[in-house]
């Protein structure tokens, strides 16, 4: 299935109905967010909104503040000023694990996995969805056992979905880079997120895997109806799966809109893309090749 097909699946007709009974996912509103690191202004009054059920791209030169933005949304960093509103709460006031419980999941720019098998990592993703405490687990109370089994099945399901089925019981350490990146994605999905933050999901991946990953991301959005905020330097990918794009430069927002609009924005070109002529030659997977 080609990306365009994936794009096509965006219109409700062909997309699998997001089942009615499940509540709609909330929007994420970043409002005048400012982060200062001793003198350095990493984010400068940045505002944008991730509409429910859309794929929203956050792009910009290195050091623009994209990851910082992720870190604030997921509660790892604290904002100097501004707010991040989600499901009626201000995330800048919350601890990471609370934010996670709201259904916000993320991946990391540089892979961060724990030791142990793929299964272990995915089950970690289920942490806030499961209850079994120290006592229950130590005594192997039936409910703990049952819970574990149920969630393990789901984790396996998700692993299959990402093509990690065969690796489910392997130590992540023995996997190649691309697979480990997918494990991270799977772990995030295991949190059954309503909002998924992906920090450079295809960086360092092989082109064919990029296609697959792009499809996966689009499919996740369609199948689960969740919103996705993605940081990626692969413009080809962004152009095809993003519904809207926000561009940062030196912590300031320099453009916001549909991929097509943003791509033509001269500010973006000079700050980030470089001249379109060069794209074809130097930047990877540029769609605009002659």
């Amino acid at each position: 299935m080609s990306i365009d097909a994936a794009a096509a699946t965006r219109d409700p007709a062909s997309s699998p109905e997001p089942d009615a009974e499940t509540e709609p996912v909330p929007a994420l509103t970043v409002d005048a967010l400012t982060v200062r690191f001793s003198g350095l202004l990493a984010l400068d009054a940045v505002s944008f909104t991730v509409a429910p059920g859309t794929i929203h791209a956050l792009i910009g030169p290195n050091g623009a503040g994209k990851s910082t933005c992720f870190n604030v949304v997921s509660g790892v960093y604290r904002a100097t000023a501004g707010a991040v509103r989600y499901a009626g709460k201000d995330l800048t006031r919350m601890a990471p694990h609370r934010i996670a419980r709201l259904g916000v999941a993320r991946t990391f720019q540089n892979i961060v996995l724990t030791h142990g098998t793929v299964a272990d990592n995915l089950m970690l993703g289920r942490h806030s969805l499961t209850r079994a405490g120290f006592t229950a687990t130590a005594l192997r109370l039936p409910r703990a056992v049952r819970e574990q089994r149920r969630h393990r099945e789901r984790a396996a399901e998700i692993a299959d979905f990402l093509g990690l089925g065969p690796a489910f019981d392997k130590p992540v350490g023995s996997l190649a880079y691309g697979d480990r990146k997918r494990v991270e994605m799977a772990r995030a999905l295991c949190m059954e997120p309503k909002l998924l933050l992906l920090d450079e999901p295809v960086a360092g991946m092989h082109p064919t895997e990029r296609v697959a990953m792009a499809e996966t991301i689009a499919k996740v959005r369609d199948a689960l109806g969740i919103s996705i905020l993605i940081v990626e330097h692969d413009m080809g990918l962004i152009m095809r799966i993003a519904d809207s794009v926000t561009v940062l430069d030196f912590g300031r927002l320099i453009a916001d809109g549909t991929p097509e609009r943003v791509q033509r924005d001269p500010a973006v070109i000079s700050a980030y893309l470089g001249t379109p002529a060069q794209d074809a030659q130097d930047t990877q997977d540029e769609g605009t090749q002659p």
Binding site: G75, Y77, A95, H97, L124, T137, A138, L139, S174
Partner: protein, 416 residues
């Protein structure tokens, strides 16, 4: 051992180059079968031992059992959660003295008047474990926010403060002379020599040690299984995540401070149980036993055994406890030694025993760097990330990431 979270001792995976996982699974199954067999044999052996060996062996064995329980606990803390602790001896002391204080009858025995609650021993034992847990909990402000060597030395303080308390809270501890330990008694069945029922099984007089032996076995079994379940279950995964990357753990919904504290509490409770059992074997608790050396011994146990693996902790505990006793017992028979009382300043058996003990440690580490558990199954492992060499046991703090304000407890703050 599959009851582990450390890749270097987990079942052999099929390498990246062959995408089928079945081979490993099969191997695991047969491995499990054979292990079940060996376990069965071992258990049988342990059950009949009291009928054959002298009290020296039983006593040493019981000391080993206590060590096993304590080591499993410390391993949950240091191996699984990656928190270094030199304060284990303190929590053993809490368990030991806790039991005595709770079980002793108020009238008090020995030199001065000593307080006691005179609870039924079994209840007292359970409460002593809880007490140790509470002590661990009280330490959570420290254990919750300190890391690596800072935590290690901070826990070291516990040992000294504890010793100070043991010496000064005389009404409870009996001071430097310690106080005697009320014998265990479960539903009227006493675990002491002095019990009137001259119980004898198959012609073997069943004294306190014989009886305690089986009690010890039960404790160990419970401790072992509980730990295995923990490590394999939800809490175990969370703790391992805290060890490997606090940011990831927090973002996955793990409340860091809470889990760090919990790990400390659980390991303290194990220590408490160990301490109580120790007290029962000693028949008397004295402060000097619960010193720094004891803590260091426990550290040695879990590393020699193989960090992160419950089975390893057991092996290590037995090694560290048994070897010195055996060496001192048999040192007299070694050649070329000047027996005490003979002229000349040659090597006495005592010295020889210590030399051999030191050598034993060194050799074990040289031949089994991954710990005794590692010996069970060596396998290639991808040490892809350079950090991982010193990740599982953050003696070196840089590997335990410290993103600002990840802890739910502490307010978020800026990076400097």
């Amino acid at each position: 051992m599959s009851d582990t979270l450390s890749p270097d001792v987990s079942p052999p995976p099929t390498t990246g180059a062959s995408p089928d996982g079945s081979g490993g699974a099969a191997g695991r199954r047969s491995q499990a079968a054979s292990r079940a067999g060996t376990v069965a044999v071992a258990v049988l052996l342990l059950l009949v031992l009291p009928f054959y060996v002298s009290s020296f062996w039983l006593q040493t064995g019981l000391f080993a059992m206590a060590a096993v329980i304590g080591a499993i606990g410390l391993n949950l803390l240091s191996g699984t959660t990656g928190q270094l602790s030199l304060g284990h001896a303190f929590f053993l002391a809490v368990g030991a003295y806790g039991y005595v204080w709770l079980a002793a009858d108020p009238s008090g025995t020995g030199s001065a008047h000593l307080y006691g609650l005179g609870l039924p021993p079994l209840l007292a034992l359970v409460l002593a474990v809880v007490l140790a847990g509470v002590a661990g909990g009280l330490f959570s402000p420290i254990s919750g926010r300190l890391r690596g060597m800072y935590l290690g030395i901070a826990t070291l303080a516990l040992v000294f403060l504890g010793h100070h308390m043991m010496l000064n809270a005389r009404d409870i501890t009996g001071g430097f002379n310690g106080r005697s330990v009320p014998a265990l008694e479960i539903f009227g069945f006493s675990f002491s020599d002095t019990s009137p029922d001259g119980l004898a099984v198959l012609g073997v007089p069943f004294g306190g040690l014989e009886r305690l032996w089986y009690f010890g076995l039960v404790l160990v079994a419970v401790a072992w299984l509980a730990a295995r379940n923990l490590v394999r279950g939800r809490p175990g995964r969370a703790l391992a995540a805290v060890r490997d990357s606090e940011v990831a753990a927090a973002v996955m919904g793990v409340p860091l401070s809470r889990y760090r504290a919990s790990a400390f509490i659980v390991s303290s409770m194990y220590a408490g149980a160990a301490g109580a059992l120790l007290a029962l074997v000693f028949k008397r608790v004295v402060p000097d036993h619960f010193g720094l050396l004891l803590s260091i011994d426990y550290l040695a146990m879990i590393v020699i055994g193989g960090l992160g693996s419950v089975g390893g902790a057991v092996a290590g505990a037995v090694f560290v406890t048994l070897i010195p006793h055996l060496l001192t017992k048999y040192a007299d028979h070694l050649p070329l030694l000047t027996a005490p009382g003979t002229a000349g300043s040659g090597v006495t058996p005592g010295d020889a025993a210590r030399y051999l003990y030191g050598a034993a440690i060194v050799l074990v580490l040289v031949f089994a760097p991954g710990g005794l558990a590692g010996l069970a199954h060596r396998r290639p492992r991808r040490t892809g990330d350079g950090a991982r060499r010193n990740r599982r046991f953050p003696l070196r703090t840089r590997t335990t990431s410290d993103p600002q304000g990840v802890e739910g407890a502490t307010p978020k703050e800026h990076t400097p």
